[in-house]
Amino acid sequence: MKKLFCLVLSLWSMVAAAEGPTAVELLAASDRARGAAASTQGLSWTAEVETVENGETKNLVYDIKVRGNDAIAQVTSPPRQKGELILFNDRSLWYVKPGIKKPVSISPRQRLVGQAANGDIASTQYARDYEGTIAGEETIKGTAAWKLDLKAKAKNVTYDKITYWISKKEQLGIRAEFLTVSGEVFKMAEVEYGNTMTVGGKSFPFVKLVVIQDAKNAQNVTKIKYQNPRETNNPPSLFNVNNLLR
């Protein structure tokens, strides 16, 4: 009886392994390594954005705080932009500048700096925002990966369509192509993981570098470097738009 139970269990495991993970599972797993809800208290890190566009280089540093579906990105450098905030309330985005009387509702698609859109700067929530289908398997720079086609679930998300490659072994998003509604690639991203995030004593890989490149002009590149990722206590009031100006 015991042998029979072991046989059934091992057969079931084999079938399950052969079927592989679903697109939703892959997206949820890859989002975790890019700042999506992994802690009930909150996560924080620093994002250094370096953009080269038409031969000009610009740098911006954001202090990012995340809790659940909410995030807040505050500019700490350069000094003339210090204090500017982008608040992510679920899919709604708000921009606040020191001295301004009211927050401004903004679109995640709007260009933030260089190739980075507003929606690129905080955590990635592809599992929440996109309908994914596994389109195949490919090897990206020697890493076996699932190729996923993502289609926006709502209009107010950063991109209409994404082709996303998630590594099979670690289930990390390693490459993305961002597409227009008509299916034309307009920018591409490569993602590297060299950081570690520890939540509740458990550690997992965390994004270290995202390089976003203009599909038509390879010289126009934006690099987002992620530093000092950590679990922090970010109270919900921090993400209330009505508190930003008080």
Partner: protein, 451 residues
């Protein structure tokens, strides 16, 4: 000659019905052309005034090299630097034909009320120039009812420190800003809880808005604005996104001290080509390269160019039709008259009148007919035009957000040319028919053989 004229006039009365029919064709045709010319004259001048003055195009527009084509895409690379601005202003201030000029900037972005953001297209003007335009004789003459401000007061009534802006009416409605600065106590700002059910009502409790743009330095920038007036652009297409602000305000918003262009108004628009070339040459002398466009260049004023071209084609076509109608009426009437009076012609010839004398007699008859018909047509035209103007008919041009009163304004030069053309056609028609008949032998004419 005087005697011939009298005979010709009396001959007109010999076949009153036919001459009345021919005269009516000339009179009604001329009346129609006068009305059409009056419509075209008014529309052309209205649009020219609208283009040059009301929308601040100026008679000349001065851009950085390739600025007109590329400013919208790469403003930083195709705009006028402070150094170029100084050189331009120095030259414009000393030019004898420059009435005034304006520093301009424009751009797009989002405007918000604290909860909702909508896209805008802003035009940066100088409020003092706007004030000059409002009272300009050309605007008073061709657009006497010009009043784009629907609520509030013009930008020039407020200090630049207020950050005053004018919103187009549908954009204002979208933001819930139905009241303006002067409706509220100074400095009133109401923070709205966007999730509350009465948020929409609260949007209208202050005149404060926020503008958010991508600055020329490549980052996001935002600025508070105070809605001082609501206006209409006159077109549905732009009434839901247009904003007017001072150029200085837009420079702060886009974080730049550069300009998009200069608009230049001339004292004598007829001397535009030489003024343009003089400004270009003087700027070239100081090492500044610029692009200068005339106001009626298709690239500068596509709406004006397209509408006026269409109107010119329409007027031209209808005038040709009217001309053909007049010509055929005259040919028909003269042919009948000459056929009937063949024996009379033969008698004149037999008495020793030369062909040219007999032909001139018929031509003089047509001249009388033409003059009388044109006089009647002119009187009829003036009466009908007066009646149309007095009845205040409103029509809706394509794309216009408001109706426009149908006003016809006679164009003296066009009217004179139309009268001359009608006269020439009348004379030519008679000349051709009479000459053809006069080639016949007098004996044949007398005997009635020539038919």
């Amino acid at each position: 000659m005087m005697h011939f004229c009298m005979i010709a006039f009396k001959n007109l009365l010999r076949n009153v019905k036919r001459n009345l029919a021919t005269g009516s064709a000339i009179a009604f045709g001329f009346c129609g052309v006068l009305m059409l010319g009056g419509y075209a004259n008014r529309v052309q001048n209205y649009l020219a005034t609208y283009t040059v003055y009301v929308i601040h195009t100026g008679h000349l527009a001065l851009f950085a090299p390739n600025g007109m084509e590329n400013f919208d895409f790469k403003p930083k690379n195709h705009s006028l630097s402070p150094q170029t601005q100084a050189a331009i202003e120095n030259i414009l201030k000393s030019d004898p034909n420059v009435e005034f000029f304006e520093r301009q900037l424009w751009g797009a972005g989002l405007v918000g009320n604290g909860c909702v953001s909508l896209p805008f297209i802003a035009k940066g003007i100088e409020p003092e120039t706007d004030k000059k335009i409002y009272s300009h004789p050309m605007v008073r003459r061709w657009m006497p009812q010009f009043a784009p401000i629907l609520k509030g007061r013009e930008l020039w009534n407020y200090p630049s420190s207020l950050g005053g802006v004018a919103l187009s009416r549908r954009l204002a409605r979208g933001l819930g800003k139905t009241s303006v600065h002067e409706d509220f106590p100074p400095g009133q700002v109401v923070l709205v809880d966007c999730a509350s059910p009465d948020a929409r009502q609260k949007f209208g409790e202050d005149a404060n808005v926020q503008f958010l743009v991508g600055s020329w330095e490549g980052s996001i920038n935002a600025l508070d604005g105070e809605v001082v007036s609501l206006f209409t652009t006159g077109f549905d297409e732009t009434d839901s996104s247009a904003i007017m602000a001072s150029t200085e305000y837009l420079q702060r918003l886009y974080d730049t001290n550069y300009l998009g262009r200069y608009a230049i108004w001339l004292k004598h628009p007829g001397r535009l080509p030489e003024t343009r070339e003089r400004i270009r040459a003087r700027l070239s002398e100081v090492g500044e390269k610029v692009d200068i466009y005339d106001w009626d260049d298709q690239r500068m004023s596509p709406y004006y160019f397209g509408t006026v071209n269409f109107l010119d084609s329409l007027v031209g076509f209808i005038s040709v039709v009217m001309g053909v109608v007049i010509l055929f009426s005259v040919l028909n009437s003269t042919t009948m008259t000459i056929l009937e009076r063949s024996q009379e012609i033969g008698t004149y010839r037999a008495l020793g009148f030369r062909r040219s004398q007999v032909r001139n007699l018929f031509v003089l008859e047509s001249v009388w007919l033409g003059l009388l018909a044109l006089l009647v047509g002119a009187i009829l035209g003036v009466v009908v035009i007066g009646a149309i103007n007095a009845s205040k008919i409103i029509y809706y041009p394509p794309g216009a957000s408001d109706g426009l009163q149908l006003v016809l304004i006679l164009n003296p030069i066009f009217s004179l040319l139309a009268a001359l053309t009608a006269m020439l056609l009348t004379i030519a028609g008679t000349w051709v028919v009479a000459s053809s008949r006069l080639r016949q032998m007098p004996a044949n004419l007398l005997s009635g053989v020539a038919r």
